[in-house]
């Protein structure tokens, strides 16, 4: 689950990290009032979307008070912001963060991640921030400092302090940086994050402020932080993906026309690759999980039946715990409930295979059973192209 910039900044403010003065606005008039109340020479309007690259996409505007704040706010709030990360459909602008513009003496990068290789929470920082960490890693790798945190001891004061002094030799600044580093680490660990980032963290005269912030929470840790749910912005997520998650299905929308139902994430990815290899284009990734129920399969099938881009459905199941008869019943249930006719190619292996075949045969539905996976994938692609 991703947070908006303003939410991430709220978490930072709770930990007494300084952020620019500002407020979140939901309509242009509110933005105008907020801008005037800041009594700042210049203000910045920042689109709140779950994506980086907002500036280049026109989601950020720096204005002086003589400018048409209300008009600019209306323009941004009305947009679907298309960045290099959102895909062509873009993301709606949920809200506008209106902030004072502060002078910048230094831009620092500060991020916390869980390093897969070492299994350690790792803090990364660079005294030259403002660009993405990937760019930094390419352009100035020697200016990136990393601090691996011991899993049991946690971040120690000396680690935070040491990192701070490698970012600034000024005692007052380093002391503020020590606090910010500790706070960001605590947010990361305290909320089971996958990423907690301040970029840029700026030095503005004698003060350190978080100018932009990004916090992503790990879905596996969310059960420990039910209070986070209030911050979920459904407008930023695909409604079908959201609904699928509710049904405990793992669904991701893709651009093609072949609907896929697979059990297991790896096999599901491999199925997409196989379709593509044969010249087809999948409409989705859909993993029903290792031990799906009849209803789970029906829910999955319904998602595809609802998707009017889908020309053909590819069912690829290697049954372990999931029995083939349960699968067949789920598919049939979904079809019966809808009365739709959509060609299905099913390749099924595993427990109770015979019964599954029998149920399909007797259902009278347009279900084509193919035992070879390669053959099945080819046929799916042909059907999609001829449809």
């Amino acid at each position: 689950m991703n947070l908006h910039e303003y939410q991430a900044k709220e978490l930072l403010a709770q930990k007494k990290v300084a952020i620019p003065r500002g407020s979140v606005c939901y309509d242009p008039l509110e933005a105008l009032i907020a801008a005037r109340q800041l009594k700042s020479e210049k203000v910045v309007l920042k689109a709140q979307v779950h994506s980086g690259g907002r500036g280049k996409a026109g989601g950020v505007a720096v204005l002086s008070l003589d400018d048409d704040v209300r008009g600019k706010a209306a323009e941004i709030l009305g947009k679907r912001l298309v960045t290099n990360q959102t895909g062509p459909q873009g993301k709606p602008v949920s809200a506008l963060l209106v902030e004072e513009v502060v002078p910048i003496d230094q831009e620092i990068y500060l991020g916390v991640i869980l390093d897969r290789g070492s299994g350690r929470v790792t803090i990364m920082a660079s005294p030259e921030g403002g660009m993405e960490i990937e760019t930094l890693a390419k352009e100035a790798p020697d200016k990136i400092f990393t601090v691996p945190v011991h899993p049991l001891t946690g971040l120690t004061a000396y680690q935070a302090r040491g990192l701070a002094y490698s970012l600034s030799s000024n005692k007052g600044i380093a002391s503020q940086l020590t606090h910010v580093i500790t706070a960001l680490y605590q947010i990361f660990v305290g909320y089971d994050c996958t990423l907690a980032e301040i970029n840029p963290l700026i030095v503005s005269r004698d003060k350190v402020l978080a100018l932009d912030a990004k916090v992503n929470v790990d879905d596996n840790g969310l059960f420990r932080h039910p209070e986070m749910e209030r911050w979920r912005d459904r407008s930023q997520e695909d409604p079908v993906e959201l609904a699928a998650r509710k049904d405990e299905l793992s669904y991701i929308k893709l651009d093609g026309n072949i609907g896929c139902i697979v059990n297991g994430a790896g096999l599901a990815m491999a199925t997409l690759d196989l379709i593509s290899l044969h010249g087809g284009s999948p409409a989705n990734f859909l993993d029903v999980g290792g031990g799906a129920s009849e209803q789970g399969v029906a829910d999955a099938m319904n998602i595809l039946l609802d998707d009017n881009r889908v020309r053909v459905v590819f069912i690829n199941i290697f049954g372990g715990i999931l029995r083939c008869d349960v699968l067949a019943r789920g598919v049939i249930k979904a079809f019966r409930g809808r009365g739709v006719e959509l060609p299905v190619i099913a390749r099924i292996e595993g427990t109770n295979l015979e019964e599954g075949h029998k149920l399909f045969r007797e259902s009278g539905l347009p279900i084509d059973m193919v035992s070879s996976l390669d053959e099945a994938a080819k046929r799916v692609v042909e059907r999609a192209q001829s449809a």
Partner: protein, 290 residues
């Protein structure tokens, strides 16, 4: 011979009286695994189809001499039983549980490594050694066949698919295991490659990778420098869009790193036979063995 487990392994199941724990403990036993006990606090004295249940892992180890543990504990509480297994002296922990918060896994894993133990998973189908008739996991046993190919994967059903192809092509397996689909897991490709290198019964290794992280790239470096047996590989997720978790918590392309293409290139560069079409893994490996 095989790696990690064999017919002398004495296996317990933590969470044996739960639905999955019971089902899979019995399936393992049926396959041939020496299931010597199970642990569920408060149920000491009971048995599950003849397998005795204990209150603590410590007691189970004391009474049965267990050295391997299969864990089926819900994600929210799964850190503690891992620590308990380590403390009780368990050598190999196979943690099936999916959805453990990664910070919990990281802490548990630190202790596992500090104490010199091994962990497979979490979010793994487990380990199976067909020649040893020993299975510690949830994979369907019947698709396997004793032989000389080692299989290491980050996936579950995708591994079954590959193993099934191998068997249909007459290619048996020495040991097959899933490393787990989470971002932080115990044994790595490299750890397993080292074991397969030292296992005289393993002639070839099939490596099944997927997007996310850099485990495959690191494996490629290792293979290039230090591995002397043939390796075939399949990498899933060429079509995965960046920034999306593809089912597995660990399967995500972050900031342009962890792509299938990068992994395929690294492995190819290391002399690994990378197979593009999943359905050809079995036949290609059969040819490689000739």
């Amino acid at each position: 011979m095989a790696i990690l487990i064999d017919r002398t392994s004495r296996v317990i199941c933590q969470g044996i009286t739960g639905k999955n724990g019971t089902f899979h403990s019995l399936a393992c036993k049926e396959y041939g695994t020496n299931m010597v006990g199970g642990v569920t606090p408060g149920k000491e004295g009971a048995t599950v189809d003849g397998i005795p249940v204990f209150n603590t892992v410590w007691k189970a180890v004391q009474e049965t001499g267990a050295d391997v543990s299969l864990i089926f504990i819900p994600a929210a509480h799964a850190k503690d039983p891992i620590l308990e297994a380590v403390d009780a002296g368990i050598r190999l922990i196979v943690c099936i549980t999916e959805g453990i918060p990664p910070l919990d896994t990281a802490q548990a894993l630190h202790v596992v490594r500090q104490e010199g133990r091994l962990m497979v998973g979490p979010n793994t189908p487990g380990v199976i050694s067909p020649p040893e008739k020993c299975k510690v996991g949830i994979m369907p046993g019947y698709i396997h066949k004793p032989g000389h190919v080692g299989v290491i994967s980050r996936s579950g059903t995708l591994t079954y698919e590959v193993v099934d192809q191998l068997t249909r092509n007459g290619v048996g397996q020495s040991t097959c295991l899933g490393l787990g689909g989470d971002p932080v897991v115990g044994l790595s490709f490299i750890d397993c490659l080292k074991m397969f290198r030292d296992d005289p019964e393993t002639e070839l290794v099939v490596l099944i990778g997927e997007i996310g992280g850099s485990a495959e790239e690191q494996a490629a470096q290792f293979i290039k420098a230090e591995f002397n047996k043939p390796v075939a590989a399949y990498i899933a997720g060429r079509l995965a869009p960046p920034g999306k978790r593809m089912g597995h918590a660990g399967a995500i392309i972050d900031g342009g790193s962890g792509t299938a293409q990068g992994k395929i290139e690294a492995l190819t560069d290391a002399g690994v036979t990378v197979i593009e079409n999943l359905t050809q893994v079995g036949s290609v490996v059969r040819e490689m063995l000739k």
